[in-house]
Amino acid sequence: MPKINDRYPASAHKRVSDWLTNGFTGLDREMTQAETPPAAPSAEAAGQAEDAFQEKARRDRERESDLYARLHHWSVTRGERQARLLYRFLAVIVCGGIVFFLLRTVSALPALGRVDAPVNNEVSYRYISRGPEETGAVNFVSGMILDYRAFDTLGESSVLFLASCAVMMLLRLDRDDAKGPVPSPLSLTGGDLHGDDILRASSLVLFPVIALFGAAVVLNGHSSPGGGFAGGAILGGALMLLSNAAGEERVSRLITERRASLAIFTALLFYAGAKSVVFYTGANGIPLDIPLGEPFSILSAGLILPLDMCVGLIVALTMYGFYRLFTKGGY
């Protein structure tokens, strides 16, 4: 066993057997010898060691920068794609999980169309059973959103007004912008449709019909399906058609930014004022007799008809305003 023999001179066994054979003096001599400092390396050897150390450090630095370069290369070539793949994979997993738990929850709901579902409680029963005599509206939804829950609808109209204000702030063209308008990614037509014969001729027939239909939907909101929101959207569409067919400068001469804002503001103010009167008198027990009229006739349902007209005006002008702002950057 050469290995053991090699290490034998330094082993504890050798030292103990030396001590046993030579006595204390042998161990003492060994210890004093070990304490003598090793001979100082020559200057040449020190220089060589220094060179070797520098060489090793240089190689380490090279290896490190090579590693970083390869990492960077990987991150811009394959790493980006792999991170994107991982993101897509995780996104699909997360969406699948959400859909799975939503479906589990849905399967625990009462079955579709059941009368005893908890959503069909005394609130809807009250709206339907007392609605026609309290609000005068034949359309229960109109009676609900413009009478029982009118505050909610005021909030909705204000949200529309605020949204149109925000869009106006974001999209209004800077007049002194020397660069000229940037093509919008949303303008589908790309050019002016004014002068298109087919559009102009068909809109001559279509516009009156659409506008009348919108007005009828607004005015009959309390006695048939419809109301301010639906009719307002139809009227807004009619205005967009007119703006494309008759030339936007004609329509925008009629509906200026100032007039549109003023009309929306007035409608909101009337709405808020009328409902304030109703809330105040109702809360303080002051009788307020608004004639409810005959059901199924246009002039009926008390305040619901004027409020529907207000909502229709707001929605129509907001829709038209969105269209103008997105295509032309101003009214």
């Binding site: 897509r88 699909v92 969406c95 959503v119 909705e156 940037v182 969105f322």
Partner: protein, 124 residues
């Protein structure tokens, strides 16, 4: 889960539609497609609300002459909630589109990654 597509067809369809919209929102890099995904999610919520108000074999919530019994009509409350949802969704969509137009005018791209890169480069 067994009765999911027999008893809860509309709700289940709404949830699947919600998932489709959410996946579109997460996976697409194009801002316009993200907005479309958000609108698909909105639509899923309308479908869910509308199906919650439905009651088998009843009239729509508009008074019929001679039928005054409250148990003859479907629930009108979800219809009003859907109306609120539509209005809010229109407003949010308009605001998002306006912001997208501004971003396009500034960076000339609709890709959200490129916009973030360009915006970071502009900060330095």
């Amino acid at each position: 889960m067994a009765a999911l597509f027999s008893d809860h067809l509309y709700e289940a369809a709404a949830m699947l539609l919600f998932g489709v919209g959410f996946t579109t929102l997460l996976l697409n890099r194009n801002l316009l497609k993200k907005i479309i995904g958000l609108n698909v999610m909105d639509t899923a919520v309308y479908l869910f609300l509308a199906s919650m108000g439905y009651i088998e074999g009843r009239f729509p919530p508009i008074l019929r002459e001679g039928v005054t019994d409250a148990s003859a009509y479907v629930n009108p409350v979800p219809a009003g909630l859907v109306l609120t949802g539509i209005v809010v969704s229109v407003s949010v969509t308009a605001l998002l589109l306006a912001l997208t137009v501004r971003l396009y005018e500034r960076f000339r791209t609709l890709n959200i990654d490129e916009i973030v890169l360009l915006a970071r480069k502009g900060e330095k």
